[in-house]
């Protein structure tokens, strides 16, 4: 939209304020909560935070672990974020991630062991995309054809898919005494330590590069293509988009399928990059944390990558501070961050609007925001994620 308006600067500043302020307020709240928890343990917050940074960004191994965790979270965050741009809530990233990883592992197992990497890797990546996309298509079809609530379908589908994968692995594919498949024959991605030896021992691998390319690709599709425009239009105002010639049901189907594909591609990080096999339960909550990542990243692909780094730092940081305070504290803190962000978004926006009201400037954004002040809630992309649910009954 910035392209169209001569008031871009002011518009951009306001949008930036509305995007960043709630997050900053929330992080401040989380910081205070963290300090209180640490003080309750009789430790010094400064000491603990220094230890946290030292154990994550302060050395190559810690940084490698952060990058590894952030890679998966970037994919699941992108998956959730893309859905939210279309006004859809995909809570199925957890099982889509697992399905993508499983498909990649199956393909890696099926390929003969001499397959050159240049052929094997793209095939495995494609398998991951298809695996996740297939799981994402189910709520997409049900939404487009029957109007079934995608939140409920994706929650339920998580359990179905994870149980099915568990059954296949445990009953048919596992290496004895384990819950993982045999090692793949081809399609493995090199660890970063092969290029930068100081990363030695950490799980970071070339999936990181795939993640960065996917961030750029998603941003391009969302903001520079017709499809992305249609998708965002449906997310903002399904009725208006339909009036403008976009079929919302088609967008719902495609958005959920692509969302699943993005999460599925995340499966390569653990399967192709780290373990070299599919292990039951490797997703380990990364799909659910993707919701938090998308939220903190304001559904912007680059914001999502940053948010993924942030949450990965908290996860890895828990291990670093374990000598001082229980690492479970970080799990509590992560939840507090999400609640704080979710709760401060509508409130901070309301306060921002109140603060602006006395200055009646006439430009596009201010008229738009007064119009959206009604009970239906703000209608800007991804800022109030529930906005799309009015039409998703």
């Amino acid at each position: 939209m910035l392209r169209f308006t001569g008031l871009a600067n002011q518009d951009r500043r306001r949008r930036l304020e509305e995007a960043l302020l709630p997050t900053l307020v929330a992080l401040l709240v989380a910081l205070v909560c963290g300090e209180l928890l640490i003080l309750a343990h009789g430790e010094s917050p400064a000491e603990v935070y220094r230890e946290l940074l030292q154990g994550t960004w302060g050395n190559a191994y810690g940084l490698g672990q952060v990058l590894f965790k952030a890679t998966t979270l970037t994919f699941t965050g992108l998956a959730v974020g893309l859905g939210l741009r279309a006004g859809l809530f995909n809570i199925g990233a957890e099982s889509q991630l697992a399905a993508g990883g499983f498909a990649a592992a199956l393909t890696g197992l099926a390929l003969p062991s001499g397959t050159p990497a240049l052929a094997a890797i793209p095939v495995c990546l494609l398998a991951a995309i298809l695996g996740g996309g297939l799981v994402g298509a189910v709520p997409g079809v049900l939404k487009a054809k029957f109007g079934a609530h995608e939140v409920i379908v994706t929650i339920m589908l998580n359990f179905v898919v994870l149980a099915a994968l568990n059954w296949v692995v445990v009953a048919h594919l596992h290496v004895p005494e384990s819950v993982h498949t045999p090692e793949i024959h081809a399609g493995g991605l090199a660890k970063l330590s092969r290029i930068f030896p100081s990363f030695h021992g950490s799980a970071a691998n070339l999936s990181l590069v795939v993640a960065l390319l996917t961030v750029i690709g998603t941003a391009f599709v969302l903001f520079r293509t017709r499809f992305g425009f249609d998708l965002r239009a449906v997310g903002l105002q399904p009725d208006a988009a339909e009036y403008g010639g976009v079929r919302p049901s088609r967008i719902y189907l495609l958005a959920l399928t692509f969302s699943g594909a993005l999460a599925g591609l995340g499966g390569i990080n653990s399967v192709l990059g780290y373990h070299g096999y599919y292990e039951d339960g490797f997703a380990g909550g990364a799909g659910f944390l993707g919701i938090a990542v998308a939220l903190v990243g304001r559904n912007d692909p680059f914001g999502i990558a940053l948010a993924a780094l942030f949450f990965a730092t908290l996860s890895q940081g828990g291990l670093a501070i374990h000598a001082l305070v229980p690492r479970q504290m970080m799990e509590v803190l992560q939840a507090i961050v999400i609640i704080a962000v979710a709760a401060s978004v509508p409130e901070v926006r309301r306060i921002l609007r109140l603060a602006r009201r006395p200055r009646p400037t006439i430009d596009r954004s201010s008229t738009a925001s007064t119009a959206a002040d009604g009970p239906a809630g703000p209608q800007e992309p991804g800022v109030n994620v529930s906005a799309g649910h009015g039409g998703s009954r």
């Binding site: 609530h149 379908v153 589908l157 179905v160 909550g285 939840a335 009970p375 649910h389």
Partner: protein, 290 residues
């Protein structure tokens, strides 16, 4: 094994589903998505174990469990109703908080990463006697009929339904939608907490993530029951019967346990797709209110 024992086993498995579904159905009908049942239940199970252990009293343990569910419900309601945080995001966060906080306090209170010490429970004899002497089982059996009465025969129920179906209209005739939803969510927290109490006392301890998705099964039952309390109750019993069957089929390799595990969720998806009959959620479910 007699039929009576079999029925007893079904009821035993169904009790936490029945309790949580009875709370969740009220919250859902008021327009608030109940994917927090899992977290409320886990919180309730932990505080119940805590209370029972430190106060040496079952009654206080039960109260602590309810309080644990209420506490999380209060946080959820405060954020998603008062501050209009997105219900789904906040719900997921509440569930993460419940897992994290119970682990954290498990560490602090019992210095363990996995479970609490053994706690007392109700009559432990297997079969019918232990069942009949467990007041929580009775609470479970009564919960959904009570929820039905509440929804369909009380003024509060009318307000709950109005808030969930057409909040704007409800507000225009003076229904305090936010407050109705607050009470509905607190009610679901108390009942899901009670479901957690049942689990902790039944297993004589709290263990990490002991609810094992039972809250989601309760949610599935609500949806499969088309948001009607009595049908939701039947769905709970149906899901519990499937689990009982699975336990008795174990070792026969007739049906893989994972298939049984899927049943509640798969049935719910099928119901949503309208294969048998269309089920529609409350019209304003999940929509942020003033």
């Amino acid at each position: 094994m007699s039929v009576v024992d079999l029925v007893a086993q079904v009821v035993r498995i169904a009790t936490p589903y029945l309790l949580a579904a009875a709370g969740g159905v009220i919250a859902e009908r008021s327009g608030v998505i109940s994917l927090t049942l899992e977290g409320f239940m886990l919180g309730g199970a932990f505080t119940a174990a805590l209370g029972t252990y430190f106060f040496h009293s079952l009654a206080l343990g039960v109260l602590c469990g309810i309080a644990g569910g209420l506490l999380l419900a209060g946080i959820h309601a405060g954020a998603s109703i008062r501050l209009r945080a997105d219900q789904v995001v906040n719900g997921i966060a509440i569930n993460l908080l419940a897992v994290g906080a119970t682990r954290y306090f498990l560490r602090i209170a019992f210095d363990s990463a996995s479970n609490s010490p053994r706690i007392a429970g109700f009559n432990e004899s297997p079969g019918l006697v232990g069942l009949v002497e467990n007041p929580l089982v009775w609470a479970g059996l009564l919960a959904l009929p009570v929820a039905w009465l509440m929804l369909n025969r009380t003024a509060f129920g009318l307000r709950v339904r109005a808030s969930g179906e057409h909040p704007e209209a409800a507000r225009s005739v003076g229904v305090p939608v936010g407050r109705v939803q607050l009470w509905a969510v607190l009610w679901s927290g108390a009942l899901a907490g009670l479901a957690g109490v049942y689990l902790a006392l039944d297993q004589h301890q709290f263990s990490d993530q002991m609810t094992a998705s039972r809250g989601y099964i309760a949610l599935a039952a609500i949806i499969f029951g088309a948001w009607e309390p009595l049908r939701a109750g039947l769905a709970c019993l149906l899901f519990a019967a499937a689990e009982t069957l699975e336990i008795h089929l174990q070792g026969t390799s007739l049906v893989p346990p994972q298939v049984v595990e899927m049943i509640p969720y798969a049935l719910t998806i099928i119901a949503l797709a309208g294969v048998v009959r269309r089920v529609a959620p409350p019209a304003a479910l999940g929509r942020a209110q003033e």
